[in-house]
């Protein structure tokens, strides 16, 4: 149709000469805009590829003294750090594989979970605060599991899910008064923010982002692929 119409416009132009060459100007401007946009996208992709090859990162930023360890390997040969958001679908998709891996390797690997709530997810911060409040009563892992196991119940809802999380705290037998104070407290909020700030400093841009022995893991977060990396690190 457009090509056809251009012929029409050109054919008709001599009949009425009052206008400047219309269709060709229009086409040029439109294609020009599209070309600029395309260049922008390509540029962005190239910049991203380059920043993708990050070497070993600073270990003190990667795992803090107060970072939550789901398991600790005495030999310290393999340390996996996962920056996650409880409301991120990719994290939820990775979760079963991670749990299988943790069950299989247990204390042969150190597994560290760090908060990286994504602001566009309505309850990402609430969920992280719930996990951190539970952590203050020694129940981080239980809340971590509870949040992921029930992610389809509370995830992607606009309304705050604070009451739902409190229900989980009750089910887990936490001291509710203390939980309520913690979850709304400035300390817990600051702790979650500090994790996210560490992540940002390490170049984390999305979730889940894994680091294996200080090197960002850029493969797929599937059980098989993660296991391959763990095996390699254990045998080296």
């Amino acid at each position: 149709m457009p090509a056809d119409d251009r012929h029409g416009a050109q054919a008709r132009r001599p009949a009425r000469d009052t206008r400047k060459p219309g269709m060709s100007t229009n086409l040029k401007v439109t294609l020009g805009i599209l070309a600029v946009a395309l260049l922008g996208v390509i540029g962005l992709a190239v910049v991203n590829r380059d920043s993708g090859t990050t070497p070993v990162v600073a270990s003190d930023t990667l795992v803090r003294a107060d970072s939550h360890r789901l398991s600790t390997a005495p030999d310290g040969r393999v340390t996996i750090v996962e920056f996650l958001d409880f409301e991120c679908e990719s994290c939820l998709a990775a979760y079963p594989g991670v749990e299988k891996l943790r069950a299989e390797y247990g204390d042969r690997i150190t597994y560290v979970v760090r908060y990286f709530p994504i602001p566009s997810h309505p309850n990402a911060f609430n969920a992280a605060h719930a996990a951190e409040a539970a952590a203050r009563q020694g129940k981080f892992e239980a809340m971590y599991k509870k949040l992921f196991d029930n992610a389809t119940v509370w995830g992607h809802k606009e309304e705050p899910q604070v009451a739902v999380f409190e229900g989980y705290a009750r089910e887990m037998g936490l001291d509710l008064a203390r939980y309520r104070a913690d979850v709304a407290g400035a300390e817990v909020a600051a702790r979650v923010k500090a994790d996210a700030a560490d992540g940002a400093a390490l170049g984390v841009q999305g979730t889940p982002t894994f680091f294996v022995n200080g090197v960002r893991y850029d493969g797929l977060p599937t059980y098989d692929d993660l296991k391959a990396v763990v095996e390699k690190s254990l045998s080296s």
Partner: protein, 209 residues
């Protein structure tokens, strides 16, 4: 070339115009049909979702591209009924208008003004939905995005046509300038929307790269 000349010139009142009746007729026809189809699919999906709350719509591809989560929000029924019903009854009118223009029917000024009013409402509503989708719900629904694109294109061409043909009063010079780059207008407009989407869901796109 010469064949086209003899065929087009006698009947076409606007021969030589950049924004020909034929072009606008096609835009309205195709835009109206595509919009109607998207509204129809959304209505069908919505019905399926109402029948079975566990139904996963065909457009729920991943966490960001998902209409299931969007369809169940309050914004999906902005006026107390399902939004796609609006498109279902209005887009066919747009398509019929386009077909009439292609058939060289001379439509009265009030018809064009009514179409303009509908286009203004549609494009305004679509941008409200865009805002809700991006900044309140945090997900995108592919069929809805088809409607966004269609609405921006239809609004641009309806408005430019009405300005060019004097249905809407406006100084000639800026109108001519805009008409001369008519397809650049919706292109730039949609690119800005695309950039906003890219920025808002950057965290998500990043994990896909």
């Amino acid at each position: 070339m010469s064949v086209a000349l003899t065929e087009e010139t006698p009947a076409d009142a606007d021969a030589g115009a950049v924004l020909s009746d034929r072009l606008v007729g096609w835009v309205l026809t195709v835009g109206g049909l595509v919009g109607a189809l998207a509204a129809f699919v959304l209505t069908v999906e919505k019905t399926a979702l109402l029948k079975n709350p566990a139904y996963v719509p065909s457009c729920s591809i991943n966490p960001v591209l998902s209409c299931g989560s969007i369809m169940s929000t309050g914004q999906a029924e902005a006026f107390g009924f399902a939004n796609p019903l609006i498109g279902l009854v209005t887009f066919p009118v747009v398509a019929a208008t386009g077909a009439a223009v292609l058939g060289r029917v001379r439509l009265p000024r009030w018809w064009w003004l009514a179409l303009q009013a509908g286009a203004v409402f549609g494009v305004g509503f679509v941008h409200w939905l865009f805002f809700q989708s991006l900044y309140r719900i945090g997900a995108l629904c592919p069929y809805c995005m088809v409607v966004w694109v269609v609405m921006v294109v239809l609004f641009t061409y309806t408005t430019l046509y009405n300005l060019d043909r004097g249905h809407l009063p406006a100084p000639r010079r800026p109108v001519d300038a805009l008409v001369r780059v008519h397809s650049a207008v919706p292109t730039l407009w949609l690119l800005i929307l695309a950039v906003l989407i890219g920025v808002q869901f950057w965290h998500y796109w990043r994990t896909l790269l």
